[in-house]
Amino acid sequence: MAATRVRGRVWKFGDDVDTDIMAPWNAMALPWEERRASVLRIRPEFAERVQPGDVIAAGRNFGCGSSREQAPENLKLLGVAGVVAESFGRIYFRNCVAMAFPNLACPGILAACEEGDELEFDVASGEVHNATRGVTLRAQPFTADMLAIVRAGGLLEVLRQRFAASGDEPSP
């Protein structure tokens, strides 16, 4: 069962961080080690220094733009454990749910944390806690259906279970 709760060190980003800057088209087909440096290249030290388990706190419209799933995929490959943003681009957000990558919309997040703070959040409760500053915010939690997808480990796992349960086992 995939986790709904995340705790990690904060990297801060502003508004309108788009999918093209998370996954530039001309780098998309490269092997991971070659394209790693292209991820969020507006801030080159990020891809260089981000540690597994770190989290992103971002402004409005995080992930606006394309349907490319490589955007959240690249963040996961860098080891980012989750994202809390003022708001999200809708396709990016849906992709994160489908991939069981915890991303939570929480108005007020940018004012409530600084870079390097220890941030903990849970998409099931909507609670966002800044352990460094002792500040807690309450965001809209995920719906039961969204949680079921995240807890299963993603939509493909839901699909696998659905086909297994229905006995509708396709031919090998």
Binding site: D16, D20, N61, S66, S67, E69, F163
Partner: protein, 430 residues
């Protein structure tokens, strides 16, 4: 109480009496469009042991983002795509007939009232036909291909009542850029947009497609026009079937209604690096242009090429500038050729490429270098979108792009405006 287009479509697709904004439904999908992402989706399914689709008849596969293949790796991807189309028995494989949204429209494969999901964020374009079109990623697409359904929240709706009339030289692209600049790129986040009013009613289908397309740049889930006689006549001709009008109930409830008079609108330009960073052309006139690009699912239809040809006839592309034209589809390319537009464009010095997404997402066919400025008829000017992160992309109408190509700098296209060439542009309207 009446219902919006989004509510009506999701009620039907969700198998309910009604579906109100904010509610969740499991929606049955009427039409599924997958471009090159099909390979990744199909491989995910095969890995799970799933080797058939919910209904291959409802699925359309098309190769547009990387056609013609720029690298051996992409060529291999296309080759695998063709094999997988065969294996899954998909009848609507449209090969490389052009840009996905254009080709589905031409083939009458999206209809008023349909729920259409595509693997491309500009699937909002189907809203021009009175459908609810939305983009999804490959994981959700794999799920949809296997099951034919997906969870959806019924979006609240925003109505833009477009009043007045478009002045000469002002196109629907200027209107949608104006809306993105004035209301911001998040105004319709998680919401459905309905474009209405006399200006919407008077637009050609092509003009509506431009606006529905860039509904994605307002953050919209769906961006719809009511399907009227313009839509139904077009689709009836294309599909050979009677197509009925579809729209919102007159007493539908909107979260917000914005009335916008376009009568005094200037040409609009979106400046780097956001489609919402919009200024009137006078504010950026004189900016040197290295590449002018007329292409993409936003603005490369017959009437867009007609506008460009009208401006470029008897003129030359500025020596500083290269003008790339990528027709939206093979059909558009052929019609433009028959109408004489391609000859006019070539004589002016334009380079015409094969139909497809081309330079828009920065993959091939016109990638821009560091320090260069591209004036583009496309939908997004994010940093690095068309190549170098140190390039600058400005978005404008086909008229602004053609005029900028002649002047070698951003310029008010009304100085060059001659209307559109011939009747064909209006008659084709796609």
């Amino acid at each position: 109480m009446g219902h919006t287009m989004a509510e009506k479509i999701l009620a039907r697709a969700g198998g309910r009496e009604q579906a109100l904004a904010g509610e969740y439904v499991t929606a049955r999908i009427d039409r599924v469009m997958v471009h090159e992402a099909f390979v990744l989706c199909a491989l995910k399914l095969l890995k799970l042991g799933i080797d058939r689709l919910f209904d291959p008849e409802r699925v359309v596969v098309i190769l547009d983002h990387y056609f013609p293949a720029p690298t051996e790796q992409m060529a291999r991807g296309h080759s695998v795509a063709r094999e997988l189309v065969e294996r899954f028995g998909i009848p609507h494989f449209l090969g490389h007939a052009g840009i996905c949204h254009q080709v589905l429209t031409e083939r009458g494969l999206a209809r008023p009232g349909d729920l259409v999901l595509g693997s491309d964020s500009h699937s909002t374009t189907y809203g021009a036909l009175g459908a609810a079109g939305a983009g999804i990623g490959i994981t959700e697409m794999a799920y949809v291909l296997a099951t034919g359904e997906l969870w959806m929240q019924v979006p609240a709706s925003i109505r833009f009542a477009l009043q007045g009339s478009l002045p000469p030289g002002i196109l629907s692209k200027d209107v949608i850029l104006h809306l993105a600049g004035r209301f911001g790129t998040e105004v319709a986040q998680y919401r459905s947009v309905e474009f209405a009013g006399p200006v919407a009613d008077a637009l050609s289908l092509a003009g509506r497609m431009t606006m529905a397309n860039m509904g994605a740049e307002l953050g919209a889930k769906f961006a719809c026009f009511a399907a009227d006689a313009v839509t139904c006549d077009y689709l009836s001709r294309r599909s050979g079937e009677r197509v009925a009008p579809f729209g919102p109930d007159p007493d539908a409830a909107y979260e917000a209604e914005h009335t916008v008079d376009v009568s005094e609108l200037e040409p609009q330009i979106a400046c780097p690096h956001s489609p919402g960073n919009v200024k009137p052309v006078s504010a950026v006139a004189g900016t040197p242009v290295h590449q002018a690009f007329l292409g993409s699912c936003t603005n490369a239809r017959l009437e867009d090429l007609a506008v460009a040809a009208a401006i470029l006839a008897g003129r030359k592309v500025h020596p500083r500038t290269r003008l790339l034209v990528t027709p939206a589809s093979q059909e558009v390319y052929l019609a433009a050729t028959r109408a004489g537009f391609t000859e006019v464009l070539l004589e002016a010095g334009a380079h015409i490429t094969a139909s497809g997404c081309g330079a828009c997402p920065g993959g091939h066919n016109g990638v821009v270098a560091s320090g260069e400025v591209c004036l583009s008829s496309t939908n997004r000017n994010f940093r690095g979108r068309m190549g170098s992160a140190e390039a600058e992309v400005y978005l404008g109408s086909p008229a602004s792009v053609a005029a900028g190509a002649v002047a070698g700098e951003i310029v008010d296209p009304r100085e060059f405006w001659r209307g559109q060439i011939g009747e064909l542009a209006a008659a084709g309207a796609s």
